[in-house]
């Protein structure tokens, strides 16, 4: 009986996480490092703090696909509910999770995060969007008017 390999991850603020290889492999970034065989002394994740890294690991644990192709014990419905609850958090954490998923290249988590933000902003006004993303309006009022005219169909 072979024990599965464990990968050690170190967050930016010094927290150590020991995860099963199958869980870690969901990060394409880590998978590439494992392939390049540079994981002996643990992998430093210098731009993700412990709190967020813990959450990403929790997601990967829940979504692990076992070697025999069987998904974790949860049914598809349960996973959906779990994902919804997982995404039910404050905007700051949500954005950090998206950035972490992007850096670690966990595609499903990135898609989930982006879809969650999309659902959240669908009905908002342009001004509210600027607040959410902390963006300045770099259009002149005349330019804004012209773009609105070109996209009149979207306001009907």
């Amino acid at each position: 009986m072979s024990t599965s390999k464990k990968i050690v991850l170190k967050s930016s603020d010094g927290h150590i996480f020991e995860v099963e290889e199958a869980v870690a492999l969901q990060s394409q970034t880590i998978a590439n490092m494992i392939e390049d065989d540079c994981v002996e002394n643990g992998i430093p994740i210098s731009n993700i703090n412990g709190e967020i890294l813990a959450k990403v690991i929790a997601y990967c644990k829940k979504h692990v696909v076992l070697p025999d192709g069987d998904t974790s014990s949860s049914s598809k419905e349960d996973l959906k509910d779990w994902d919804a609850e997982f995404m039910n958090t404050d905007q700051s954490t949500l954005f950090d999770l998206i950035l972490a998923a992007n850096f670690l290249n966990v595609k499903d988590l990135l898609d989930l995060g982006c879809q969650t933000v999309a659902d959240m902003i669908t009905g908002k006004t342009p001004e509210e969007i600027r607040t959410v993303f902390n963006i300045e309006n770099d259009f002149t009022p005349a330019e804004v008017e012209e773009i609105r005219k070109e996209n009149q169909w979207a306001f009907e």
Partner: protein, 404 residues
């Protein structure tokens, strides 16, 4: 410990309601991923947020990715006007659909009957109306025919091909109202029929045209959006049997018609492969080969189907379960009498299919055989109508990029 957890939860709950400024900024590639997951209208509205949002969402590559990612299907209805119908709420027992009038090219060009209708309305005014009610009804009915009928050629990959006037064709996006007129071609033969499809190998939209003289289908030409030109492909030789030489149906990457062979007097399905631009024949089920009956090709949830459009009421359609496999034709009996039936698309529930029958749009459940008519508000369909399903998209026929 408990106090801080409670406090944190309360803060989290209020954070969800209010819009808080982000503590981390998302890079453009992630903003693009978020935009891709929005409905088309939201994307249009957000273009004025900032230059980044506008540039990210305006390139053709974005439109293509968006089409693949967010599938929001609607109906477009032609009834001497064009309307868009959203059927999203149908699953939750919604019975009424609201038709939204669309702007489209040549919409305000009066029909050939317009002058006559105007004169009738004027004359009734002069003679004095017999009753207020009949005058109102007269006005309603005559208003209907003041515009030209819009003919649908087909829908493919985000665009509709339609003809709002005789021998004039447009590629049209019902979502953004963007349109492109196809180069006019002088009409050579007496009769034409068309089909529309997308070639995903060359990323090109194509319109195929079959021409016929009084008795024979004689040849085919194809239009390519990338070259914006027509070219003749080949000669054909089939009988031109019935009036209403209808538009071909796009299923599985090919446009289909039912024609009769010159020799053997047998009906077959003629398929035009949009990629290879070649024609091939497929056999019909034995009974459908009968040349005394007229069959129309349709798309039933991705499967080729043929419907007999005779003037007697009937209740069956033939479906080709495995594309191209003659032995896979099977007959489905429908608990609905019709002279003409056109399946449109399935709803979120895969057993339910929206269909156009003689007078209405019907929601039919193929598992339970239960069906109901849908009430359409905002459009007068009593003068005749035709519908087609389409997917909301940002694809522009005018900004078509040549490279993949």
């Amino acid at each position: 410990m408990a106090a801080t957890t409670r406090g944190k939860r309360r803060r989290e709950e209020s954070a969800k309601e209010e819009i808080s400024p982000a503590s981390s900024e998302l890079p453009p590639e992630i903003i693009r991923e978020i935009l891709l997951r929005l409905p088309a209208k939201s994307i249009g509205r957000f273009r004025c947020v900032a230059k980044l949002f506008c540039s990210l969402s305006s390139d053709p590559g974005f439109a293509k990715s968006h089409l693949d990612l967010t599938v929001h299907r609607k109906l477009i209805v032609s009834a001497y006007n064009l309307y868009a119908l959203d059927f999203d709420g149908i699953g939750e027992g919604v019975t009424d659909l609201v038709a939204v009038e669309l702007n489209y090219p040549l919409k305000e060009v009066p029909s050939k009957y317009d002058e006559i209708i105007q004169r009738i309305i004027r004359e009734r005014g002069v003679l004095g109306c017999r009753s207020v009610v009949s005058d109102e009804m007269m006005k309603l009915n005559t208003e209907l025919y003041r515009r030209n009928w819009v003919q649908f050629i087909g829908y493919s990959n985000g665009l509709v091909c339609m003809s709002p006037a005789d021998n004039v064709f447009f590629l049209y996006n019902p979502t953004t109202r963007d349109s492109k007129r196809l180069p006019d071609l002088a009409r050579v033969e007496a009769h034409e029929t068309h089909g529309f499809g997308f070639d995903d190998l060359t990323n090109d939209y194509k319109v195929v045209k079959l021409v016929a003289d009084t008795h024979r289908v004689v040849g085919a030409s194809v239009y390519s959006l990338k070259t914006n030109s027509w070219r003749r492909i080949c000669d054909l030789n089939y009988k031109r049997d019935f009036e209403g030489f209808v538009a071909g149906m796009n299923v599985n990457g090919a446009v289909h018609w039912v024609f009769t062979r010159q020799e053997a007097n047998k009906r077959v399905v003629l398929a035009f492969d949009v990629k290879t631009e070649e024609f091939r024949e497929m056999p019909l089920p034995g009974e459908a080969e009968d040349v005394s009956r007229n069959f129309l090709v349709n798309d039933l949830s991705g499967r080729l189907c043929v419907v007999d459009i005779c003037f007697q009421e009937h209740d069956d359609i033939w479906v080709m379960n495995e594309y191209g496999v003659a032995s896979s034709w099977s007959r489905i009996r429908i608990r609905l009498l019709f002279t003409c039936l056109r399946p449109l698309c399935s709803t979120k529930n895969n057993d339910e299919v929206l269909m156009e029958d003689d007078d209405d749009i019907v929601l039919y459940n193929f598992k339970t055989d239960a069906w109901r008519k849908l009430r359409i508000r905002g459009a007068n369909l009593r003068g005749g109508f035709e519908t087609h399903s389409y997917i909301e998209s940002l694809i522009s026929p005018n900004l078509y990029v040549v490279e993949n």
